[in-house]
């Protein structure tokens, strides 16, 4: 009887052991990413690897007409395989590569573009695509170039913080985000669209990023390898390699300041008003500028060939800048409802602090970053919610 009882007790207790004892074998990987792309020649000037889009800029002429680029190596997610697109070598047009995950359940099509470096210098903000995620849709601006044969290529050289804002879950529709295209043609200076940058209050959800200034810049916004909520300054990767000497940044814009520059704590409570050390004012203002910098020096300094939110305006790698400094940065003329109805035109000349080496310029060892933001100190989460900047028809005039 005693034995029976002990057995019963054991039988009852056994199921509890289930929880700690049986870790199952690891399942095959479910990811289907292209993590990197490697060419057989050292001709890559810049590459931008996004979730479904890969853009590689190569030296002009490196692969002739780019219709037969072989020996491309793709670095894929563990166990993933290419199931489509690897049997054609014509990269003169956008190329689709479909990757299947190790477990076979997930497939992702990547648009791969291998482009000769041809950086546009006129930006009319007419081309927009929609980036969809589980929580919302946001706008993304791109440039469309046409070659001599009439082939179009789309360049995703512009980036914004929308991807970071998406994580807060506050954006449902494109115009809920900090960066979006104009909703009506009347609101653009020319053409169908202009870009709108609007400072948004995020609050506690931002986990230390209580404010999201609208921004748009040449470069990449990437959360790779960082905590995007806590290190947003590192997510903004400013600049792309450039082989011309810029002279003037010309832009049409209108602006309405949201008021005083608020400072927030991590919970999103206002803890004070920030005073601009440059002029003692506490009014929020717009940022419109271009920075030319030495990307080799940036790599020496930071280990990366770009500048980020904490270094863009203060880096020793900078060689020249053009920046909006006059009082129009605080606001442009408004109609009787307080709405800025008139674009104004500015020519911002470049001033150089260091000489540019023409040989190094030809080798793309300098980069250009053009930056627009609705709150100048937005990268530090200081600003006024509601500050709104419209930008259209920008030209980077070069020598």
């Amino acid at each position: 009887m005693k034995k029976t009882i002990v057995r019963i007790i054991f039988a009852l207790a056994m199921p509890l052991m289930v929880f700690t004892s049986c870790i199952k074998d690891e399942l095959p990987n479910t990811e289907a990413d292209i993590l990197d792309i490697i060419l057989d020649k050292d001709v890559i000037i810049s590459k931008k690897i996004e979730n479904e889009r890969i853009t590689v800029f190569i030296s002009p002429g490196a692969y002739g007409d780019r219709k037969n680029i072989r020996n491309i190596s793709y670095v894929l997610s563990e166990g993933a395989t290419i199931i489509r697109g690897n049997d054609s070598y014509d990269y003169s047009i956008s190329h689709e590569i479909e990757v299947m995950s190790e477990d076979g359940n997930w497939k992702k099509t990547h648009e791969v573009r291998i482009l000769e470096m041809a950086f546009p210098t006129e930006y009319y903000f007419e081309n927009w695509s929609e980036n969809r995620s589980s929580t919302g849709v946001y706008d993304e601006c791109f440039e469309r170039l046409m070659d001599d044969e009439g082939n179009e290529s789309d360049l995703y050289i512009w980036a914004s913080g929308n991807m970071g804002y998406r994580i807060t879950g506050k954006g449902q529709n494109p115009d809920d985000y900090p960066t979006y295209k104009t909703l009506s043609q009347d609101d653009a200076n020319n053409g169908a669209y202009a870009t709108i940058l609007e400072t948004r209050y995020v609050g506690k959800i931002g986990q230390g990023s209580p404010l999201a200034a609208g921004n748009m810049f040449i470069g990449e916004f990437s959360g790779k390898g960082i905590n995007i909520m806590k290190e947003q300054m590192k997510a903004t990767r400013f600049g792309m390699p450039f082989n011309k000497i810029p002279k003037t940044l010309k832009a049409w814009f209108k602006y309405k300041s949201g008021g005083v520059i608020n400072e927030y704590n991590a919970d999103g409570d206002i803890v004070g008003t920030y005073t601009d050390p440059a002029n003692g004012s506490n009014q929020d203002y717009a940022a419109i500028y271009a920075i030319m910098f030495d990307n080799v020096k940036a790599k020496d300094l930071y280990g990366k060939n770009y500048l980020d939110g904490s270094t863009i305006l203060s880096s020793p790698a900078e060689v020249g800048r053009a920046i909006l400094t006059d009082n129009d940065k605080y606001g442009t003329p408004t109609n009787e409802h307080g709405y800025p109805n008139e674009y104004i035109y500015k020519e911002l000349p470049f001033t150089f602090s260091k000489a540019i080496d023409p040989d190094r310029l030809a080798k793309y060892e300098y980069s250009i970053a053009i930056v627009f933001s609705s709150s100048y100190y937005g990268a530090e989460f200081k600003g006024a919610p509601g500050s709104k900047l419209w930008v259209d028809d920008v030209v980077l005039e070069c020598e």
Partner: protein
């Protein structure tokens, strides 16, 4: 940790088994041999604690390792009434205030999760560390058939229904990355988020219960009961996790027999 508790419970019960031979009090005889209906009822008040887990049935492959498991202090108080039909069979019921809780820390891969941030959410698959805290209180009504296997030992088999008084199911997702929406969605690195599914739990749980009652002395009752929930913890429309969880707890109780 849980293993140690389980072991302790077993030792305690085995020790009690030894006591059986020495003891002479025949509680059962007292309560059954008299024919008066009032004496066929036996009442007891019990206090005890629950050890166990609110867990999936078998660990899903998404869980790569359980780094820690802490049963939280989960006390129970109960009043039971037993009606004896004859000297072998009886029926037991009662009311129990029941807390079922635990804390776990696990390393997961491709773990489907909706992370809540102040009411806003991202849904996707997470790879990293997930902590879970469960602390649910229930009012439980058991119904058990009781069989007398020896003068001091009864075995019990039946079921229970529990009504949730208060529930907490929450935790954190840290040291990892999330793929937004699905494994091929945009990758979000450095995730440091919280989740709270307290409001997604069912208000009712029901399951099977098996146990033993041991009566070493005239008024002392020691019981061990396994309660195994058969209803998934979460409501059927809940999709924030890819697998169902169930309450599986072992209750050790000490009681006074009136």
């Amino acid at each position: 940790m849980k293993k140690i508790y389980t072991l302790l419970a077993l030792i305690l019960i085995c020790f009690a088994v030894e006591e059986v031979n020495a003891a002479k009090v025949r509680v059962r005889e007292k309560r059954v041999e008299k024919a008066a209906p009032a004496d066929r009822f036996v009442f007891a008040a019990k206090a005890g604690f629950n050890l166990g887990g609110t867990a999936p049935m078998g660990l899903p492959a998404e869980i790569r390792s359980l780094n820690s498991f802490k049963p939280t202090f989960s006390f129970t108080i109960a009043g039971t009434a037993q009606y004896n039909f004859n000297n072998k069979w009886g029926l037991q019921s009662g009311v129990k205030f029941d807390i079922k809780g635990m804390q776990t820390d696990a390393t997961v891969k491709n773990y489907q999760l909706v992370v809540s941030m102040d009411g806003s959410t991202i849904e996707g698959v997470f790879t990293g560390d997930v902590t879970t805290k469960v602390h649910n209180s229930y009012i439980t009504l058991p119904v058990l058939a009781v069989y007398d296997i020896s003068p001091r030992w009864d075995i019990k088999l039946g079921g229970y229904v529990s009504f949730m008084v208060n529930g907490e199911f929450s935790g954190t997702a840290t040291n990892g990355y999330m793929r937004d929406g699905s494994p091929i969605g945009p990758r979000v690195d450095g995730v440091d988020a919280v989740y709270d599914f307290s409001n997604d739990m069912r208000k009712v749980d029901a399951g099977i219960q098996v146990g033993v009652d041991f009566i070493p002395y005239k008024h002392l009752l020691v019981s061990g009961d396994l309660t195994w929930g058969c209803m998934p913890l979460f409501k059927s429309d809940f999709t924030a996790m890819s697998f169902n969880m169930y309450n599986v707890y072992f209750n050790i109780g000490f009681g006074y027999v009136f």
